[in-house]
Point group: C2
Chain length 518, copies 2
């Protein structure tokens, strides 16, 4: 099954820093590391899903049902299931909480913006999802071809040029507004965006939002595209980049129609995102800021090169609520939660560039138990624990085994924090009865990781086997015909998020997932 | 790309007859042959689909758009496109037409029944399909979980036991009737089957059917489940086998509920079908009736182990209308087309077993130009040619090259039939301008094949990369946990279609794809 152990892969990553500048060595190191981590557990198809506790045709083929790595644990080997309220208390942050020494809030918002695009638990049936299971930039293009049409520059526009619809506010380009005020004063979805989100979803997401706030909501591909300033920032930034690229294409290929310009720009954009995710975002998560390349075709002929299918474990383990600080503090400013949530006015008044600069300097929380901010504990964390419970997951140690790690033999081996040891002992008795969702956040980890080894490996496995199986990276697809010469040049010119920010939000603005060292 | 040439695979198949009885040698030979044929062209994902003439995200990910092996040919290298009426005349059968020396009509009906389950061009948008892209037995289970529920034994039944709904007529088990007569005398879909087919589809399929005939229509998974006696025979036979297996499971596992019995029976049924398709049906198509096994896990780690996606070429090349005889003649009976189409009464009165016996002895037509029966030429063949044209396919020679065969240099090399040579020359000029859909049926082929080499190879490629990537054959799924002990025993006990017929339609009835030798 596994080529080399995941821990050896981590060990190897330590040395890649020295070969970062040598393209061939960097490529080779990336290939070994990706392959090792993509083989830490069994390849898809998985025998089980949330459809059913045994193997069924629907469970094997209908990706609306969320997948699962391990079968449900319902027998005597199942972990203990202490009351949910007591488990919740393991997550509640104490006081100011712990800070991650190296991570900016810009990273935290990227993680949320990025993963919310494919970790999409169905609002109305928790066994299901509404995910496309791909990194497809649905944040700005919507979940389907029909929805993409609504978000593109309108049919009546004089020159569409493959552009996304946008508006100018304070000399800056933003998405258009989702809602409009009718003559009778009531607020409703603007006619051009009817069908973008279902009435049920609109009700869930915007039911409590004031009329005034609604008028500042931007049209976005996803329903929660406005719920934190991070989502608005990234959606706006990448909308600008899409339109920039579409204009480059239009200048180079005057014969292309609106559709071809749009579709080719989208192809380019998806690969740009894959590059940012692998080469900057995953590198930040991984040990030693190791070198990682988007290696085209790396999945060809590999046992793990199977269509992606989001697992319930991936959907749960990515809820890094602990990274969210109590307040965003940088550049002499302090943003309270109510200011960084549902607050498009702030983005409009501050401007995209200055806000990216601020978030790049604001410290985030640290992945650990007892570190989820209070305003998330009693809402999102509580729902997460309920979802986790309904999935009847196997134990922490069973997942360690399934992901090629040795089982832990005691709580002392799990964490050096004596208070946590005592808490877990009282809740679970023995380490073999520990719940996975608690264990992954309780694990000690060395300085060079930003979360425990099991969590790191499970993230890598699901991320790599999703990202590198993207159809645009396949041998038959990744070529100049798909992206055009213009696209290939954009890939060369884009090494980091800062490059995209510089082009679209201020030449001197740097976007950083790591805090400034000074 | 390719391990060994497809022609060498065919050559090898000649010798497998001698090792058929030696399980290990048979398994090895199967593995080599399958692997060779699954590598004759580039693996999925394909860069192009019917969505668009260039590469788009929808075209790469939305399987509602039918795939395509080669990009559209619209430049100077495109094949000639003589008027469709003239191309149609190349297909019209002359007189009694040619007979295949070895093939029974039972085979022909199997081919139709089997392939209509996944070659499902959208009735209303020819670029699209309504296929599940899998061998999933949707003929008896319907196209979705919701539709399967309609076809299962009803909610109010006392003991459901995982059974499909059925009725007894003349002491034989048949599916229930789809339509019912209301008190006012009008005919309508029975309440329990509302939602099985959309009103638009019902209108297309049953718009012209008389009220009396409607009352004999059986509920089936697919809309065309009643349009030839073959579909009705196979649906009825396999419904009986499903119910037989469900009862075996119920006896062995009394604690299982209706759902678990149904789902496990379905898992078993799908693998039974895969076995019949590979080990009997494909073997009949292939050279020398070579040995071929359903080798579990054969796709693991192979470059071609990608989710299936029906291509337009597969949907077109499988229209073996030439196999249909003008009349079905055997056992001293003659069935005219109007008798073997839309005639459930015949199936009910003759009985499933006797009809299978008759069809096993009735000779089929032969795959060749000028051999499509007249009653299909002006309807289905005409629509096929129009569909083929709308797809802007590459030339015959380009497809030969794409599927690892040498290009042909002249019409003389294509066929020894001088009249056909002359016709093709006058329509196409040179062999490089020959259309693919004409070329595949014009190719000469040796006695040991039942169609031309390019057609044989393209069928094998699409069939193998579809069948062997079935999720039930994957390493993590193909095990006793998925099928139960009962299921594993059923696999052992089922070597051929005749075994299933013997269990469900008469102990002494043999089902044969080959005509009796005497």
């Amino acid at each position: 099954m596994k080529a080399i152990s995941p821990r050896f892969a981590f060990f190897l990553m330590r040395f890649t820093r020295w070969v970062k500048k040598i393209p061939l060595a960097r490529r080779l190191a990336s290939t070994i590391i990706i392959e090792a981590l993509a083989r830490t557990t069994k390849p898809r198809p998985r025998a089980f899903s949330m459809a059913c506790d045994y193997t069924t045709w629907q469970g094997l083929t209908n990706r609306r049902y969320t997948g699962r790595h391990l079968p449900p644990a319902i027998g005597p080997d199942a972990p203990a299931r202490p009351p949910e309220e007591q488990v919740l208390e393991l997550f509640r942050r104490v006081g100011e909480g712990k800070r991650d020494p190296d991570t900016s809030v810009l990273f935290v918002f990227f993680a949320q913006w990025f993963t919310d695009s494919f970790l999409r638990t169905d609002w109305f049936d928790k066994r299901k999802n509404t995910s496309n299971h791909e990194i497809d930039f649905c944040q700005i293009y919507g979940l389907s071809e029909e929805k993409a049409k609504l978000l593109r520059k309108g049919k009546n526009a004089e020159s569409k040029g493959g552009l996304l619809a946008s508006q100018i506010i304070n000399d800056e380009e933003f998405p258009p507004f989702l809602f409009t005020r009718l003559d009778d004063g009531s607020i409703t979805v603007a006619p051009e965006f009817v069908g973008l989100h279902s009435p049920e979803i609109l009700n869930v997401v915007f039911g409590d939002v004031s009329d005034e706030a609604k008028l500042n909501v931007f049209a976005a591909g996803l329903e929660h595209g406005n719920n934190v300033i991070g989502n608005v920032l990234y959606n706006t930034l990448f909308l600008r980049e899409h339109n920039r690229i579409a204009k480059l294409l239009a200048a180079e290929y005057p014969a292309w129609d609106d559709d071809r310009l749009f579709e080719t720009a989208r192809n380019i954009m998806v690969v740009l995102l894959l590059k940012l995710v692998i080469e900057e975002y995953i590198v930040h998560i991984g040990p030693y800021d190791a070198a990682l390349d988007v290696v085209p075709f790396i999945a060809e002929g590999k046992s793990w090169n199977k269509s992606n299918w989001i697992s319930i474990e991936f959907a749960l383990l990515y809820r890094w609520h602990q990274l969210v600080p109590n307040q965003i503090i940088a550049n002499g400013k302090t943003l309270e939660p109510r200011e960084f949530r549902n607050n498009n006015k702030l983005v409009i008044s501050e401007g995209v560039g200055p806000l990216i600069d601020l978030l790049s300097r604001a410290p985030s929380g640290k992945v650990a138990l007892h570190n989820t901010p209070t305003f998330l504990v009693d809402s999102i964390e509580k729902r997460t624990i309920a979802l986790m419970r309904s999935a009847n997951l196997a134990s922490y140690n069973d997942y360690r085994e399934a992901f090629s790690l040795p089982r832990k033999s005691s709580f002392e081996e799990l964490t050096s924090d004596k208070a946590v040891q005592a808490e877990l002992k009282s809740l679970y008795g023995t380490i073999d009865k520990l719940e996975w969702y608690v264990g992954i956040f309780a694990e000690d980890y060395p300085d060079f990781l930003m979360m425990g080894p099991l969590l790191s490996i499970m993230v890598s496995y699901d991320a790599f086997t999703q990202a590198f199986t993207n159809p645009l990276l396949a041998r038959n697809v990744y070529n100049e015909e798909t992206f055009s010469k213009v696209g290939m040049k954009v890939f060369e010119e884009t090494k980091s998020l800062s490059d995209i920010v510089a082009r679209n939000a201020g030449e001197n603005i740097r976007a950083n997932f790591s805090l400034p060292k000074d």
